[in-house]
Assembly symmetry: C2
Homo-oligomer: 252 residues x 2
């Protein structure tokens, strides 16, 4: 189970590269698999984005038949990616799957790549939250947004929108505006680490949900997060390490 | 500003490796700097753990005099590490520092490395929280522990203890036991990615604060987190992607 990082090979760790080279078979969402060079004697098995459980089962079955099998994820496999789906399959699948040698190879997840583009917005306590309500109720997402914002966490939002979920991100911004000042810095990082990379710094009141798509990772600052203007250069966004006690809501 | 990852070179990205090779001067906490091979024409400037602000200022001053200067951090520079200290120094320092070309190179942060050792404990929404109260009041840490646990986030605890802060982690475990079942899985990952790596899986009621030190990253599961026993192999710990609505406290 290999994390490819944000996309560009310069983020692929030597550990991930070595595991990829050793694999006879590579399974993955077709967009991620397209980043993996095809090697002699290595077969690629692309599948669709929403087929995590079937992909995990096919790969585990292949491995149980003796193959050296890799599954690839963008970013880190353990962050809103395939590693949990593989564990779910192992727990509910044939006993033989528990005897397999499985290894998880970490990667640079999107929030780290986006943060590095712009400074240090995750500089103090932060959380990572997926806005997809395919696998959890929207009420739970709202509850987590409330908890994170009112306790002063910086918030990294994964999967802000998709074609099937056009309104979740706008609703989340509305929710966050109840807790955080209008001037709170917000970073949109799209396709970071890939040729069409685009990073935008805005504020919570000006943030427009239409500027996010499926390839966007959004970081919403805390009350402490700051923007450093730089003449002739893009601004830096960072969250200071020190937090005074008054920097969160008095009552949650 | 370069992230070295957990320690072993197999986690160092090609981007970080290239930036390190290009540097004339490398600044960092001496333990991290010891992982960087000394190269001809490259000077190392080690400093003590608690000297982040002075280290950042020295490196920026060096760069402002025309040097190609690197600062190294373990893990990712933007996660409880040097990137925020560098931004703080730029904001409060001489105007010339805002004109410097600065770049942040992401790395594999400890929670990703520990999670990858054991399965996928960060498989759904999670937060990262430092237990150090050097830079924020303990009451704020308690508030964040309450918010994160009661809203069902998995919690990665950085800096659980230090010589000067022996009791924080035990107090945090006591606090978390008020929100989470006794059987909640807890992972202690010590020095992951280094020769003395040690990973322990326990439960919230059995977790012993004495088993954590400064090199330990602790992951406390949510109500959803599961352990898969495997005959003859270490268990896998994972948090399923799907969360039913009832999986968090009814009242916060």
């Amino acid at each position: 189970m290999i994390g490819l990082g944000p996309g560009d090979p310069r983020y692929l760790t030597p550990d991930a590269d070595e595991a990829l080279r050793a694999a006879e078979a590579v399974y993955g969402y077709s967009s991620y698999l397209a980043r993996v060079p095809t090697r002699r004697h290595q077969v690629h098995y692309p599948s669709d984005n929403r087929e995590e459980a079937a992909r995990a089962a096919a790969a585990l079955d292949h491995a149980a038949r003796g193959g050296n099998v890799a599954i690839v994820s963008g970013g880190d496999p353990g962050v809103f990616a395939m590693a949990a789906a593989v564990c779910e399959a192992i727990e509910s699948g044939p006993e033989a799957w528990r005897a397999l040698d499985v290894a998880f190879v970490p990667g640079i997840t999107a929030m780290l790549a986006v943060a590095a583009c712009i400074g240090a917005p995750l500089g103090h306590d932060f959380c990572a939250l997926s806005l997809s309500d395919n696998l959890k109720p929207w009420e739970l997402i709202e509850r987590r947004l409330d908890a994170a914002a009112s306790a002063g966490f910086v918030i990294a939002l994964y999967n802000p929108v998709s074609r099937a979920r056009p309104r979740q991100f706008g609703n989340a911004l509305t929710r966050l505006r109840q807790h955080l000042p209008a001037s709170t810095p917000v970073v949109f990082g799209r396709a970071v680490g890939r040729p069409d990379e685009r990073v935008e710094v805005t504020t919570l009141d000006a943030a427009d949900a239409k500027n996010a798509d499926m390839a966007t990772l959004v970081i919403v600052g805390s009350r402490e997060t700051r923007v450093i203007a730089r003449p002739g250069k893009s601004p830096l966004v960072y969250t200071p390490r020190a937090t005074p006690g008054a920097a969160v809501e008095v009552s949650a």
